[in-house]
């Protein structure tokens, strides 16, 4: 039973309007769903994705009035966004610089050309070349030309203090494969271990950096809340639910998020993982053309719409 890759990644913003502007206007991603955190309806949950809202492309945000993240280990430390080729990286380096965003040099990391930057609240992002492998569903109304658009998520880099317990869960429970390792910066930098899922490749990799000397991170703006992995079928989802239930790990049990179904658990390094189904998808309550234009609520929250909207700042 194989996970197919990264499903989505959820981060934290304390500035929803600024976040919306950056991800749609600067990065050119599509807001495919504007909803609320189903467990905390006082917060927006914004989903940015490709033109279709395909699984594996959503970068999502909880809107919390939080202080900036305190960086450290036991956290997700870098979010990969895939672009097609090195020419796109060069183009992005100029675009981001023109928009006042500091960028790194284009470097080879784990043998892939990569450009690092931080979003306006400090979330660490890498644009990573994926050589155009797999499908792409560009957003026709994006300010970014089709050939340079973000194609999807991955790889995602997590930091843990100790490899072994995390590795046991990744390989033993989640059936990922440890493929290789690299050092982050100089030869003295921390070692990062690459775990592959499904057909592998940058859309289906989790990179585990081992940093025992770092303090524990604290959630906050510019930080990441959790990463979700794809399980394509509801049958497999049921099997994952059973496997987690019998694993001895403290897992959430099945949760219907309306746009997908989820299972949550915390891996031993302290990072919140989710396994999520590809379907039903974001077009289940809106037409594909108008995704994200109005506040969408799952049916169980619809009766509270008036109260929920009253608590949200217009966006």
């Amino acid at each position: 039973m194989q996970l197919a890759g990264i499903h989505h990644l959820t981060a934290i913003t304390a500035d929803a309007p600024g976040n919306l502007a950056f991800y749609t206007q600067t990065l050119g991603m599509r807001l495919v769903k504007k909803t609320v955190n189903q467990d905390d309806v006082s917060a927006y949950h914004l989903f940015y994705a490709d033109g279709k809202g395909s699984p594996g492309t959503d970068l999502t945000f909880f809107d919390w009035p939080a202080a900036p993240e305190r960086r450290g280990t036991r956290s997700i430390v870098r979010t990969g966004l895939r672009v097609a080729d090195e020419a796109s990286l060069t183009w992005w380096a100029k675009r981001l610089t023109d928009h006042g965003i500091a960028v790194s040099d284009i470097v080879k990391r784990d043998n892939r050309s990569t450009l690092d930057f931080e979003d306006p609240e400090g979330q660490r992002i890498s644009l990573v070349v994926d050589d155009g492998v797999g499908e792409a569903h560009p957003w026709q109304d994006s300010p970014v030309a089709v050939e340079h658009q973000v194609r999807g998520l991955g790889p995602i880099v997590i930091s843990v203090p100790d490899l072994e317990p995390t590795s046991r869960v990744l390989t033993g429970l989640m059936e990922m494969r440890q493929a290789r390792q690299y050092t982050h910066a100089e030869a003295t930098g921390p070692t990062t271990y690459v775990y592959e899922m499904g057909d592998a490749g940058p859309a289906a990799e989790l990179h585990v950096r081992v940093e025992p000397d770092l303090p524990r991170a604290r959630y906050g703006a510019g930080g990441v809340h959790h990463v979700a992995f794809r399980t394509p079928t509801f049958d497999d989802y049921e099997k994952w639910a059973e496997r987690l239930a019998s694993s001895g790990i403290n897992a959430s049990g099945p949760v219907d998020r309306f746009y997908f179904r989820s299972l949550y658990f915390r891996e031993p390094g302290g990072i919140l993982f989710e396994i999520a189904t590809d379907g039903p998808g974001f077009a289940v309550d809106e037409s594909a053309d108008t995704l994200g234009q109005s506040l969408a609520l799952p049916p169980f929250l619809e009766p509270q719409r008036q109260q929920i909207e009253a608590n949200l700042k217009p966006l």
Binding site: N37, D39, A66, A67, R216, R218, N250
Partner: protein, 218 residues
Amino acid sequence: MHPHADQPMLTAGPSPENADATLVLVHGRGADAQSILALHRTLDLSNLAGLAPQAANHTWYPNPFLAEIETNQPYLDSALKRLAEIVDDLLSRGVPSHRIALLGFSQGACLTSEFIARHPRRYGAVMALTGGLIGPPGTSRDYAGSLESTPVFLGCNDPDAHIPFERVRETEAVLSRMGAVVEVRRYPGLPHTVNDDELRVCRAMLEKVLAGDEEATS
């Protein structure tokens, strides 16, 4: 008379001084600190201190929460005082009130909601699971002070053998009037326990407290 004064306090996780936030867990009638402290582990949040005070003889007050308040004295006043002492102690140890969260179940939820109404300030989060303000129907609710946008979650099954849902709605109205941001979830047909949806809501609220807002007034 303060019958709850010398009861044990159980703890979990880091000490409040070393944690990003502190959760005070208030058990229900017939239960104990150990049982509610298990929720701290179930919530599975890093760097959250857990404090669970124990009621004398496993109950915070002897009669139903809808009974005349005098019939629950001096235990009710003692129980409210115990929570006030815990919060004051945290404040004196340098934990700002917006990093203090309270979670009560059943009788503990009643006590918790009554406590914040009588001691309003900006708490990090307040979660009253299956409970509401204390006193018989028609009790005047002229509490003074402001909850300053404290997020409050009231989760309750309905019908419940002990808690009429109207009291949850009344609690929502009173705490909202006092400046809290209240979310109510009604769970038709569920038993008198903490359910998974409530746990997820509590976890989401506490994650936000852990992330904190350095600007918040304390």
